[in-house]
Symmetry: D2
Subunit: 353 residues, 4 copies
């Protein structure tokens, strides 16, 4: 009800703030009998970690995962699986000047209005750091999906006006942009560093593909698979747009173009404009998702904003921020899609007697 | 859990199929003391109704609402408010040939895989007709929002390659396209009718604006206001993309461009790239949403598809279908946004002691 | 959230008032492929119906069920299964004097305080008539359970100080008390009719037994099977106590007495003090439940109460009321237990990978 | 869905096992602006703690609370409030012999059947130790209720056949039984110690009274206040019966006896058979609850049970167990009632526009 829980059967509740004691997540509904590979969970967190390259924040956080419950002798027991990450490099001093001032493009003013009281350090709960708990939970969801051969892969499709032209999954983790096109990656990196030099940040577009999703996942009416994936991705700060399959291009198509045809020869689909979801139910084709990521709102350039007394004041955001959030949002987006799929996988078990 | 419920406090559960006895909705969580203007609910349903113009389906359904419970002497009593609409012009004969064949671009194959048993008549539960129940519930949500001066307005922004250039709310209900640009409306109408002549359908883009939404609505992490709006809209069949504020344009921006600045003179925001939502919480600015609508998948042109025996077969979809769903999806989109806002309005009451 | 929904997977939402248009229920989560025997649902409603004997209310309501959705060619389709019952013999005139006066022992004052507005006719939503929708939904749950050989049987154990001594399921539906002891049934009938003559009502105790429940149903911590059964039964108006197994007797026992022992010879349990539930999980033994039912609060005797102006006033409740609610609460209690079991049966499918 | 969450607005999710790393709870929905008195939370945990007297388990656990999130400068911020307790004196060696044997009266066999995999040490998640997390959350709920003057007090009413005759709240925390009758407390203590000498345990009855609960709390149909309290209490292991107000005595009453009358002189209620709840809604009178607690199932006496190979085997339960759980279940029961009340207090804010 208060917004920190996602999923219905495979259900996670996250907690923690950017500069509090740490972040955490409780997974209630992880089925028993799943081998919990802690090293894998850690490796997923490492993909989201700050300080991993010159295009990410230079804050240093080991993001060392501790599993508190729900695992016995390496295997999930069916009871809540709780995990925490302690904050270690929280430098709250950089935020003293923000106690009474709202950063542009952030949730600061919203939290102040909503709650009256606010942990201003690093954005508190509204910090992107909150997503580390999602990645931990998403790693468990991926372990579950792996049992059924389902994979979820994300990559940076474009940064500013630099767009990837090719898609090669094998290169994604080999460049600091997490682009699937190695040549574009080089240009994207330059684009980001140029922006940072000018005290700017840049936006981009991320794509996610889920493969081997069996047909039949998703529920009627409101909990359509695309509705839950849409929610999952819009729940990530900075995401301003989501497309499934052909997305906004669909708005320009004719019916016979948009409908995916079956080849009479092979019996397989020729196109995938639907992005693997028809009427909210997975079709068995790849699930193709695109999302728009706005530029990191925290920039060194002076901006005009308001304070808690509703006065207009200038602001310069110090602290350590990502000049482009795309490389680090990739594992978060994958996690959210994996969580939605794991949940719908289990939900589907109740569809027939 | 099974997907037919939306909302947490202002919570609706819908039921019914295209060619069954009718459609219905139970609103559990409508606060007591709201005047329930039945004529207004009916007028909203009339906006979504089939047969209202030459660009909509020619099926004739009065969509006459009956309130079954929850209202006493014209006022909501706080207990479940149930409403039903009886189907009257369900012509199932047109669907006999679809008992074993899956229509391209529809949920037919998905439902078959998922449930094993399927009401094939008009798509059963997966029919767009299901949204009539949402519009009835959305009308009640709008009545609630009206008490707090909040309005939700939708319009057709583009159809195929014809885009609206101006936005004048006063013309929306005066053209059959529900465009906000009267000149574009004329071109859109021609575009649609041309397509229909060629046994085609066309997609489009719809915009929704919510005004006077107070700051502070939305919940942290997963139930961000944009996440719930995103889910609300993706839960409508045919929607393939959703944007908040600048949407995909954000991916090309720099931080200082994307962040909405306050005018030092007036203290008001100069831009609204955020679309009225920052960090998942309403900012007090207008909430601006754009969504992509794919072409109606049911077309008269012959297409290749599969049947329940996994055989590739040709199909021609008869029946009475909208050549472009945009004009009729506008009230549905408004309803879904209104439901999300009403819910978050009530949820917000628990944010402080 | 607003209290009219029960269950998580097999989830029902009920609506309607005593003197409104009717009662209804939406089952969201009935798995596809279940034969929906409408005559059976009707027969269950007939067991709860008013006017069935001289110990029940003389209001005449056919309680004719209409299935609105979710069933195609006699089989559940997995989408919401909605059912309604129209009110026909609502005589609201008897309630005019209750518009401003609160009946003792009823929810009248509570609803007035809570909602400000109130449908006073027959108690509105707080009427026992609300349970007819539960019985309809419970009948579907029983059809589902029957597939897995699970049965739920209730009976009147005692009325006032007349207690049943034997338990013979075959006689329950053969006496108007729904007692399992035919000799006690005769005395109970006399006890009730004597009370009615003196313008009184009487309480009683009802027992429910669920058989063939497989071991392993129930969830840890809060959604223990007994917790959900306890909630299910306390949600029925007039229920003031619930026991599982030995219940309050357990408070007087020693550990070696209370623990159910296994016979070394047969390997089966010798006792069932646990009532078939240990640590919230079904053990495979019968689930034995006892519940206390208070006397119908509506009596012809003059009583002192308050009105909406907080003035103390005398009241005489006319209308048609059950002198003892036990015979008609039996099918309601069965329905609620069946709903809890059906839900946990389906929930359990997600317990292992 | 998987059972480890309680509440709808003031919603808690607990995790942890008896012999794992520790126990914890996330409160999602604690309103912002509440002073979080950590010393008070600790004091509540100390009341539940093991080793506090000679009638409780001799395991030594400091149960030192650590608040991980949701509190800033001593005040709740409206975001998830997470707390953990580390296990310190977990002696798992005593449980080695239980890896393949199910303890009588416990959930062991149920968990084995349900999940296939099981943390057998101290009962794992099914241990009473799980309730420490509830007490921590309940303490926060009590802090919230205190703001509105609402109190919740529990005490041991009887142990075996020794019943309290008087109720004096001021003595409850002054005797190790937590009885409200100091003379009975002495006899109860002797009763318990005698039982322990014979390697036995004993059951008892606990009462809880909530005072100053405003009228109007509770929701219609299924989420009646008594239904949610009933569930709350049945969710505590060892509870086999729950009564509201007159409870099972109601089954023997006549209507005019059972209905609570208003005094024409004072305008106040003369009796409280309803236990403060009518039709599921609080009446403004005290909420009076009674619950039956079975004897601790872990006893030193040899018992017959089954192992994972379905073989009947003798068992002697070593380890450190409470000879009577009543003194320590009192704070747990208070916590659960406080959680139900806090939740319904906040839910009620949505009842009117």
């Amino acid at each position: 009800m208060s917004g920190n829980t996602f999923g219905t059967i495979f259900r996670i509740t996250t907690f923690g703030e950017s500069h509090g004691k740490g972040l955490g997540v409780v997974i209630d509904g992880c089925p028993a009998g799943l081998e919990i590979d802690e090293a894998y969970i850690q490796s997923e967190l490492d993909r989201r970690r700050v300080g991993q390259s010159k295009v990410t924040s230079q804050r240093q956080e080991p993001d060392k995962i501790e599993i508190l419950s729900g695992v016995f002798e390496g295997v999930s027991t069916g009871v809540p699986l709780a995990m925490i990450l302690r904050n270690q490099d929280a430098d709250s001093s950089k935020y003293d000047n923000l106690r009474e001032v709202f950063r542009p493009g952030h949730a600061d003013a919203g939290y102040h209005t909503k709650y009256g009281v606010r942990d201003h350090r690093g954005g508190g709960r509204s910090s992107g750091r909150e997503t580390s708990a999602r990645v931990a939970a998403g790693a468990v969801a991926k372990l579950l999906l792996k049992k059924f051969n389902i994979t979820v892969t994300g990559w940076t499709h474009s940064v500013g006006n630099v767009e990837g032209k090719t898609v090669d999954f094998s290169v994604i983790e080999k460049n600091i942009i997490r682009a699937a096109d190695p040549e574009a990656a080089v240009k994207m990196e330059k684009y980001i560093l140029d922006a940072r030099k000018e005290h700017e940040s840049v936006g981009g577009i991320v794509k996610i593909k889920a493969q081997n999703v069996p047909p039949g996942l998703g529920e009627p009416a409101f909990d359509k698979l695309d509705a839950d994936i849409g929610k999952a991705l819009f729940s990530i700060g900075s995401v301003k747009g989501v497309e499934i399959g052909s997305g906004f291009e669909s708005g320009k198509m004719h019916g016979s173009e948009s409908n995916d045809m079956v080849s009479p020869e092979t019996g397989t689909y020729i196109t995938n404009n639907a992005g693997g979801i028809l009427g909210g139910i997975s079709s068995g084709q790849d699930i193709d998702i695109t999302m728009a990521v706005k530029p990191t709102p925290s920039i060194l350039k002076e901006q005009m904003t308001k304070d808690i007394h509703d006065k207009v004041v200038p602001i310069v955001i110090e602290g350590r921020h990502d000049p482009c959030i795309c490389p680090r949002i990739v594992p978060v987006a994958e996690a959210m899609v994996a969580l939605a799929l794991a949940d719908h996988y289990l939900r589907n078990r109740a569809s027939r007697i």
